[in-house]
Symmetry: D2
Subunit: 223 residues, 4 copies
């Protein structure tokens, strides 16, 4: 499993992180991770997994897997396919890609079968606790109303982080908790860790930044 | 646009066509297409597009695009991403990946904007006709109950093919029609063309075949 | 089939039109329809269909049907159930309840089998044209960005109305066209008819009005 | 909250339980419940709630609620609407109507706000445990592969029942557990209770029975 505390970047489907732009970002994170020793991973679009895994050493993840096995599932994301492409982990149930409860269970099972690290996203304390019942690697709590915004969850709603950590650990001590939404700098990262989390999941804070390198270095300084 | 009559292979999420297996199949079709002059395309999983486009000359397609523009759409299939990865076309609304009506419209619009060839799948004559109103490149009619089966649509329900051709052409003469479901050999292909279609869309007939090469050659003989 | 030109009210799931409030609104429309001779229908929540049909003479419609037949479909809206409850028509594919293309086809088929009047909602000219291929009773074009707004579609985008009428009639002369979004008064209604439509579909314009009676009378004056 | 042990009938969208047929079934259960003292509830289609609540004393439930508040949600099932129609409870997340994880949370919250009894359906032990984190009134575990079948879950997979009870109680002692799938007679009911559950949820076992009265009496004898 990936080392913690960790900074996980989800590049979504931003133009700034599609194709060669995704590779450029992955390369930059790889360099900074090596220089600083900070644990980092990047989740990229399915089309860009091989492109990145061939060139960088940091863990490359998928942004999503579907609750399926090999077979007749045209256009869906097969867990085996992202693994074969080189991904070593995946996001599950991101707020922009919510799954049915039974499918969250199935995706976690499939990720475990394939030895894929996995972060299951939740929107509040009670869903964090519910997800913990499935014993995933990681749960990332992200209040939907703060995603993509200017204020970090660690400032806007620190209780959701500390209470998610408490709720998750009450179910399963081995599950690690990340937090996300509005995270932008090292101070947000260190606050996240103070609140009991094992790191952050972020997207636009890096992808949309003008000077990506200095933002990533600043984030890393908070670990 | 791809030449017609055409044989389009959708490899779905079969193990036999994931990762290096997808490349092997694409390479085989590429070879036979060059030898026979038969027009062929292969639709592969998003993870395998670059892998294939770097090595073969036949058109490589995506199996699906989502009705989105670049932005916050974690884990969905961005049309720009499949284009950047090297795909020159895409399936839309496959029977295993049905879209809402308004999203069929939007996906076709996005495919046109990006100059991606596109096959929109329909399940019967009336939906074929409805889709024709959007003036896509291709419509592929595939009766769901025959997909993956042993009897070709051209034998089991020839009227659905000829009537789809008629219905589509009554709306827009430039839209080409393919047919699929149960297609397995050259006879099925030549019957499809006799019925007025411009080719076939198939999957398990090739992917699940023991001797893929002889099946593809046999199919090509029907053009 | 309901007489045209017609005013169809969709009460959605507003508090102001749930339970006895729905009945009050239906009763008011019934009274005004009888006094003025204006053709009107009201689409109410499934729970309120019987409540209204037992007390009023204007047509009571369902807001939605699911693409199903009697059987194992817990919690979905069975076309036979809304018919049995007294509904004589239904909306299909409302912008807040979009259906897959194949399901739009199936819902229209089911409505015809049960002799239910039906309005299929579209979001633009091309989807209006596509829906026309299924020969429904009515198509209602409603640009999503104008729904619930202050400016009537007939003012904000009159071309979408006249072009939908043209596109629909080019496919099937018998299909009638309504328009909706932002419709609030008699002037909007008469403009809708001038543009070639057979009436209007509206919601908040009536449901959220302080003086519902005067708004309904004003709308009726535009027929 | 409804008394336990309890027999809850879900009539789905069967013809045999639509409109007056639903009322007939509710009346029969009402009679037998009064005669035997057995606690029973019936979940009916939204269209039939008022019809039943006006005539019977046993609790009438909705089959589903959507995760919404009053507003613009055309054709969806508003919790307030089923309450206003007379329902005192609802199923949530039935295997034929699965919800996204965040929506399971929201539906339970809405049911509690409106003081609606609620049974949240699960498909296995781990989802039962996950749902327990939301502290609903009831969880009903129903293995999907046994639903509608001839063998009762209590015979085919007794461990799923006892292990769900254990898992749920480990999270929250106040949550009651039902079981379902293939339940057909009093012996199945008494076995369900022996296994630690608080009753059964069933559908076709009653609805599809030729002699509904004797089946219901037989089931009641197992409490």
């Amino acid at each position: 499993m990936i080392d913690t505390p960790v900074i996980v970047l989800n590049v979504k489907t931003y133009s700034e992180a599609t194709g060669s732009n995704a590779l450029e970002l992955a390369t930059l994170m790889d360099k900074i991770s090596k220089e600083t020793g900070a644990s980092m991973a990047i989740a990229v679009q399915a089309t860009d997994i091989t492109l990145c895994t061939e060139k960088v050493d940091i863990p490359v993840w998928a942004e999503h897997i579907d609750p399926i096995k090999p077979g007749s599932h045209t256009g869906w994301t097969l867990p085996e396919a992202v693994k074969t492409a080189g991904a070593v982990g995946t996001l599950i149930n991101h707020s922009e890609h919510r799954l049915k409860l039974a499918d969250v269970d199935l995706c976690i099972t499939r990720a475990k079968e394939l030895n894929l690290d996995h972060i299951v996203c939740s929107n509040n304390v009670s869903t964090s606790k519910a997800i913990a019942a499935f014993s995933p690697n990681f749960i990332a709590v992200e209040p939907p109303e703060l995603i993509g915004g200017d204020i970090s969850v660690t400032t806007a709603d620190p209780d959701i982080v500390s209470n998610s950590v408490k709720a998750v650990k009450s179910i399963s001590k081995n599950v690690k908790v990340l937090c996300g939404a509005g995270v932008k700098n090292g101070e947000d990262v260190s606050k996240a860790i103070e609140l009991g989390s094992d790191g952050v999941l972020l997207a636009s804070g890096i992808v949309k930044a003008k000077d990506k390198e200095s933002v990533i270095r600043n984030l890393a300084s908070g670990l």
